[in-house]
Amino acid sequence: MNIHTKVLGEGVVVLRLEGKLNMVSAPHLREEVHSSVTAGNTHVAIDLSGVDFIDSSGLGALINGLKATRQAGGDLRIAAPTEQVKMVLELTNIDRVLKTYGDAETAFSG
């Protein structure tokens, strides 16, 4: 999995993921969120449009990220999931916890 980081300013950062978000790549995402928070970008938007597969460890990394950002007074938001990702979100009821935004770049505006 590849992660492209784009800082939007005012503490907001977009992480665009590409590939599989699974037990192998989950630690990578966790570290990326932590370094964003450490750098002061506590509002993290995750662009899932390039993720073709997610497993429970991948969801775990998102939840861990939510914890890390909230503790720093920020938030984590997910955007543009693919069909497979949407299905897993519903299956585990994480869709009751995390709202899905249409576009990562605007997840924190308005």
């Binding site: 630690p27 429970s56 460890s57 914890k67 938030d75 585990t92 009821n93 994480i94 009751r96 916890v97």
Partner: protein, 648 residues
Amino acid sequence: MNRNFLIRVFVLITFALGTNYIIWRWLFSLNWTNWWIAVPLVLAETYNFIDVLFFGFTIWRADPAHAVHAPREGLTVDVFITTYNEPIDLVIATAKAAKRIRYPHLTWILDDGAREEMRLAAEALGVGYIKRGENWRNQPLHAKAGNLNNALMATSGEFLLILDADQVPYPEILDHTLNYFDDPKVALVQTPQWFGNVTPYDPLGSQAPLFYGPIQQGKNAWNAAFFCGSNAVLRREALMQLGVSRYAAELEIAVMQALKSADRILAHAMRTTAANDLEVQKTLKTLGDAIAQTRAAIAGGQTIAEATYALQRRISEVSKEMVSAHLSVMAEDLAAIKAIHTETDENWDVILDVEKTTDLLASREFSPLGACEAMATLLRSLDVDRPGEAQPLMPLATVSVTEDMATSMRLHSMGWKSVYHHEILAVGLAPEDLSSMMKQRLRWAQGTMQVMLRENPLVQRGLTTAQKIMYFATMWSYLSGFAAVVYFVAPVVYLCFGVLPVKAFSTTYFYHFIPFMIANQLLFLVVSKGISTWRGQQYSLALFPIWLKAVSSAVRNVYFHHPLAFVVTPKTGHGVRNEWRLIKYQIGVAIVLVIAATIGILRLVRGLNEPVGTFVNIAWVIWDLGLMSILIPALRYRGHQSRENLTK
């Protein structure tokens, strides 16, 4: 003849004769004059009959033969060795054996003792070392479940082999278990726990050949083989899915409860605020509105993250205004709230803590502004990040000190499958003295009762009827302490006072009772294929104070939130002598039984008791004493010196 057919015939015979006996007992034999002993006795007998029925149901289906073949190549496996306070050498011996496991894997030592010398030893051996991170500071540790949950976040293998510190694995352990995971629904493969430091006589009853044999094989046939904490391989995806789903479900419940509690505090504050204190009135109203809005938003389908985010924002604005206006008033109350939140105990959980916090807050006289702040604190503590836990995901169940059984039950209710693989693939160390053994049994019994009280299998959605019965049967067997007390009291009251619980010890009684008893013992004999089940029968009665204590402490823990002491069993012997006080209740009972038998004989001689009744009750006393007699060699046991059979 087909063995399974034979077993079924014996199950049916036992069932028929048992039903005949129990119905006759209830309808025709009760001596209502002495109802105070007659009814408890028939209840105790019914309890045992149901136990036998559960046993028959467990072994009803033959274990389907599994074709063991070499597992696929390229699977990733983490081997976890859990330790807390075991000697470094013992852990390293296990780690060395783990390194020699043939299938490619990574070995990790999970050190809950955070010992520097353990870390160095792991490093020298070239295996991974994991201890709890900073995030666990001042958070509930959840013992072994917490240790494993912590390691799950630090590793990434598809499969996890879990080993207790003393369980030395054979090199082929993964080769013989991983192939079951070709079925994508299999979450768990459990292998037997077998102990190398036990003499054939096994005075402490450490080997459990009936459990790691016919019982687990039978449960396996019902897709209900249990996870037993060690010597098992688990699928990471199954555990993580469990963790994620539980997080989602528990978070929503916790947030709704927090809102409810906040309402209570708010109402309390409203009542105690002077009508002319307009500023406070205004603040309270703002907070009340915020809570109502949040509840409406969640009910209307808004996600928890969104709703709590909005609520947090509003609360912090209100708090800021309050703090600037009334800093001094609240200082004292704030300190009290802080004190509440630093409390941690072993069996902490989110929902429990809301109640505790609310009760503490309600019991304290807060100023209205203090109440506002208390409410804000409460709501903040139930943000989506779950600050009351070290990590948001807890895949291994933390509701019980026996996390293994609770976890496999949850996996089953999510539709995952389990497998019991009947082949010894690791050799461990059993407790080497009675005291350690009793602590271990107490913990197992307490844990099982906690699961029964917190997550009764009979009402768990997603479990099949057979699975519900399989879990419930194990819990049922831990209630035997109550029956034991009755089985001591009944012969004593007859022998000493001639009090009969049945109308008569007549031939009719024997016609009903003896065939059932013989069929029952034959059933055990057929099922166990000659392995001795006597030790198990002995301890089922002899440890009655442990079973009673387990039930009472689990009830106190679950319903009254008393802490349950978690005792890690020492794996090496102590050599402490004269531990008679360990079995003081059993000694007391034995003395009473012997005195009763003596009195019974004297009463017989003087013509006060009948011969048949006396004979039956003295036989009963001898049976009780015979079962409890195991405690004498157990108490004198100092461990098995030779450990050469530990390495293969």
